[in-house]
Amino acid sequence: MEIKWAMAIDLDRCTGCGACVVACVAENNIPVVGEAEVEKGRLMQWIRVARYWEGEYPEAQAVYLPVPCMQCERAPCETVCPVYATYHNEDGLNAMVYNRCVGTRYCANNCPYSVRVFNWFDHVWEKPLDEQLSPDLTTRSRGVMEKCTFCIQRIRRAKETAAEEGREIRDGEAVPACVQTCPPGALLFGNVADPHSEIARKLKDPRRFRLMEHLGTEPRVVYLKRQKGAGR
């Protein structure tokens, strides 16, 4: 079966709790940079929960917007990499080859969503915190760009299990860490090429929109607007 991974983020369910952020940090060996580096804009987290204010007291509103890599179908970051470190893989994901990266940061510069983060240092995990590091993926070294991969290691694990059992991958079998943990179930992940998948149904929702759709990047992350009113 053809595979086209996609993520749906239902803003009507998102509570902004940040469970996705820590799940991602735990899954993907993301370093902690400390207060001073965060101030310089060097936070390494691959997913952020942007918060928007609207209106004034007493009608003030806040809206949360989880922003992982959009995994664009026509990704602006890919075309500018001089060494092909960022490329499109067989599942349509926007993947990184860390070993190729020479740190030009052109990709981050060209990303309209600001989801790429750069290793300004060789980050250290004070012993024995390094015992927690996942053996499924490397830690990245200084001068390398990184970003959300839709937890490619979890997708591969699910694919391998399916292949071992001689079957197609099931809907819901491969999910990124953020989707797995999301307490209110705001995040959904799956194969849109499979018309019976939950995500294929979800993406028919008239509330759908993509971030900066006018740029023509064709993001694989689709948002569902917050609803107003009681009924549907």
Binding site: D12, E35, R48, P58, V67, S114, Q132, P135, Q180, G185
Partner: protein
């Protein structure tokens, strides 16, 4: 299943089977993979089920273990509380397990008391240091033993309770700064049951929240967040509506369809205003209850409520009608309403709405599943295993008085609730504690409380220990089992294990009360042990589905009308113009998470601030005080004074200053220390425990630090496109 059992035995053996013996031999056979243990394949990960220990919600977890090391924690998909989901705090438990500053071996005080300088000793020496005074006190004055812990559930509670009883001391105090005292007494008055209700959000059509924090902290945030998601989006034709009343636009309030700000400490009055309209307009399902309350409610017409609370009368009337017409609906009180000086009144006002709506015991309403049922075979001791989640403030004050009077000769401390940090300083807890001649602390980290001990006994984290648990809400009667998912990383022994061993040494009554060789044996006896039911339960994470999960309809015949006590909050409004609203931090909870770098670096949902604490004010209030975003201020209350950075919250009432709890540690390791000052220090030491208990003033102060916020690296997108 024999292999699995061997593995678990091996893992547990260091801590349990050989309490007084050496355990080196066991470890030597386990660590090198010359002959790998049966359950370990290099490169292949295994998942073990257990219980999260990061807050009292009791979520089920599964831990990914690769080559003997825990790699990731996820929610247990079978667990009735969280169904596979887990919050940020729960996932960060890995950092506590592998924390560089974790206590790895027993230590005795080597410097002066409170200096925090300790010398490592062996477990044999540590236990003899503990047993000498214990034996002496038991012979001379057994009542002068104090045990001060966080609330303990399951058989750990049974062991501690029985130990103290058999020893001859009734001074067992459990302290929880976010205890649900107010909610318990409100439910006793309105529903006739002194327990926590189960709010069935998933099936509700209308949700009224009164300073609710059920999505972020509260009693069971993951359970309620999941139910909230289902309420919003899981039904084909119904989307539950959510209305929030409260003084601050919190993370939970931001999820609401309608946020109606009210004056702090008036949540219950708003609820009574709604109840008034429901009774007046004959909108209630429970007409018997309504008839009896009509007279009392006549004092709360919407116009009068508007004057007291600042919520418009037409809003109250409109919400009342919507609530009544969209049943099943739920009213839920939050920490902010429950921890005011008159918390029981506010919670009772809110509970009254549930009684009036007649939704008790129905799907989409409130119910009171019998928690004690799971442990009914223990008879009167069941309360030790499934205690009501009280703060224990009264017992704590009493204990402090007695400590100061020299009534105690030994204090045994345990748990993460850190009273030296979380109690108002004017209670002088630390000073009183220093009057106790011998202090032993069971701990994983040195903090403000444990660093005052003479003897520190390192305990395994929840990921390395045996245990059992019954969650406060969402449990469906299921007992969860806690098992060591990794071989204990340090030379630790759990508190129940040490108590069982100590009871054996003491002989007599204590030995009879705790007749087991180890805590694992106690659990084996209770749950059928290896080869029995327990083995299957351990694989699944607990006894799910076997216990009864029927809803017990709450009794509403005994409704007592809530009476406000009009206890004013501290501080003259002229000198202290702003009401202080303290709330549990989404990441750090009561401060226990402050030493975990993942949590410090997770941006706060509302302010996006990291690594430091802040004071939230309305931008207009700030402008009036000449303050801009990030400015340093001194926050002064009649009881104390701290500094913090100002940050704007456009959805906070103009006469309120809000601060998150959790930062301001001084002795909790390098990650936690020096990240601002502790807002608990602003609280008065009142008769009842209250977080919303004082007014403050803000004065501009130059601070050497800056508040770092992680806001919008993408620049500004148009919010109108998002909604």
């Amino acid at each position: 299943m024999l292999h699995r059992r061997q593995f678990l035995k091996l893992g547990g053996a260091t801590a349990f089977a050989t309490l007084f013996g050496g355990c080196d031999k066991m470890q030597r056979t386990l660590i090198p993979f010359v002959i790998p243990p049966e359950n370990t394949t290099l490169g292949e990960a295994l998942w073990y089920a257990s219980v999260c220990g990061q807050c009292p919600a009791g979520c089920g977890i599964v831990v990914r273990v690769s080559e003997g090391r825990a790699k990731k924690i996820e929610g247990n998909p079978r667990h009735p509380v969280n169904r596979g989901r887990l919050c940020a705090r729960g996932q960060a438990a890995l950092q506590a397990l592998y924390h560089p500053e974790r206590l790895s071996r027993p230590m005795k005080l080597s410097g002066t008391r409170g200096s925090g300088t300790y010398a490592p000793i062996s477990w044999e020496e540590a236990l003899s240091l503990l047993m000498v005074p214990l034996k002496k006190v038991q012979a001379e004055a057994p009542a002068s033993l104090l045990m001060l812990t966080e609330p303990m559930r399951g058989h750990a509670g049974l062991v501690a309770g029985r130990f103290m009883k058999a020893f001859g001391s009734k001074h067992r105090v459990a302290w929880d700064p976010f205890g649900a005292d107010a909610m318990l007494s409100a439910n006793a008055a309105i529903h006739g049951i002194r327990d926590l209700p189960e709010h069935d959000l998933a099936n509700a059509r209308y949700l009224l929240s009164f300073s609710g924090d059920f999505l972020e902290t509260g009693i069971s945030p993951v359970h309620y967040a999941r139910a909230y998601g289902r309420m919003r989006g899981d039904r084909e034709t119904i989307r539950g509506k959510f209305v929030h009343f409260g003084p601050r636009l919190s993370m939970t309030a931001a999820a609401a369809d309608l946020f109606l700000p009210c004056t702090p400490g008036t949540e219950g009055i708003v609820a009574l205003g709604i109840a008034h309209v429901m009774v007046r307009d004959r909108l209630t399902a429970a007409s018997a209850v309504a008839g009896r309350l009509a007279d009392d409610l006549s004092a709360y017409p919407p116009e009068a409520v508007e004057r007291l609370t600042g919520v418009h009368a037409h809003d109250i009337a409109a919400v009342a009608e919507e609530f009544a017409r969209n049943q099943p609906g739920i009213a839920i009180p939050g920490t902010g309403a429950a921890t005011g000086p008159d918390g029981a009144f506010h919670c009772a006002g809110v509970a009254l709405l549930n009684a009036l709506a007649g939704n008790a015991g129905k799907p989409g309403g409130v119910s009171f599943p019998n928690r004690a049922l799971a442990f009914a075979r223990y008879g009167s001791e069941a309360a030790l295993l499934a205690p009501a989640p009280e703060s224990g403030y009264a017992a704590m004050r009493d204990a402090i008085d007695k400590m100061r009077g020299g009534a105690f000769r030994i204090a045994i401390l345990s748990g993460a609730t850190n009273p030296a940090f979380t109690l108002p300083p004017s209670l002088k807890f630390s000073e009183a504690l220093s009057k106790v001649p011998f202090i032993a602390a069971f701990a994983s980290f040195l903090d403000e409380t444990t660093s005052q001990a003479d003897l520190v006994l390192p305990v395994p984290t929840a990921l390395e220990a045996w245990g059992d648990d019954l969650a406060p809400v969402g449990h469906s009667g299921a007992v969860t089992l806690c098992q060591p998912v990794v071989v204990p990383f340090h030379d630790t022994r759990s508190m129940p294990d040490v108590l069982i061993a100590a009871a054996g040494e003491l002989g007599g009554k204590p030995a009879k009360a705790l007749p087991w060789g180890s805590f694992k044996e106690c659990l084996d006896k209770a749950y059928g042990g290896p080869g029995g039911q327990m083995e299957i339960a351990l694989q699944r994470g607990g006894f799910f589905g076997e216990s009864s999960s029927q809803r017990s309809g709450a009794r509403t015949g005994t409704v007592a009308f809530p009476k406000g006590t009009e206890r004013p909050i501290d501080g003259d409004p002229k000198a202290f113009p702003l009401a202080l609203h303290l709330y549990p931090s989404v990441t750090l909870y009561d401060g226990r998470g402050a030493n975990l770098p993942w949590l410090q670096e997770m941006p706060d949902p509302v302010t996006t601030a990291v690594w430091r604490n802040w004071v939230e004010v309305n931008p207009k209030t700030a402008a009036g005080l000449g303050l801009s975003e990030g400015d340093g201020v001194t926050v002064t209350s009649p009881s104390g004074k701290i500094t913090a950075h100002v940050t704007f919250n456009p959805g906070i009432a103009p006469d309120v200053a809000a601060m998150p709890l959790g930062q301001g540690h001084t002795r909790y390791g390098k990650t936690a220390n020096g990240r601002g000052e502790n807002p608990f220090a602003l609280l008065p030491a009142g008769e009842t425990y209250a977080l919303q208990a004082t007014r403050v003033s803000l004065t501009k102060t130059k601070l050497p630090t800056r508040l770092v916020r992680f806001a919008h690296p993408e620049g500004q997108w148009k919010i109108s496109n998002l909604m």
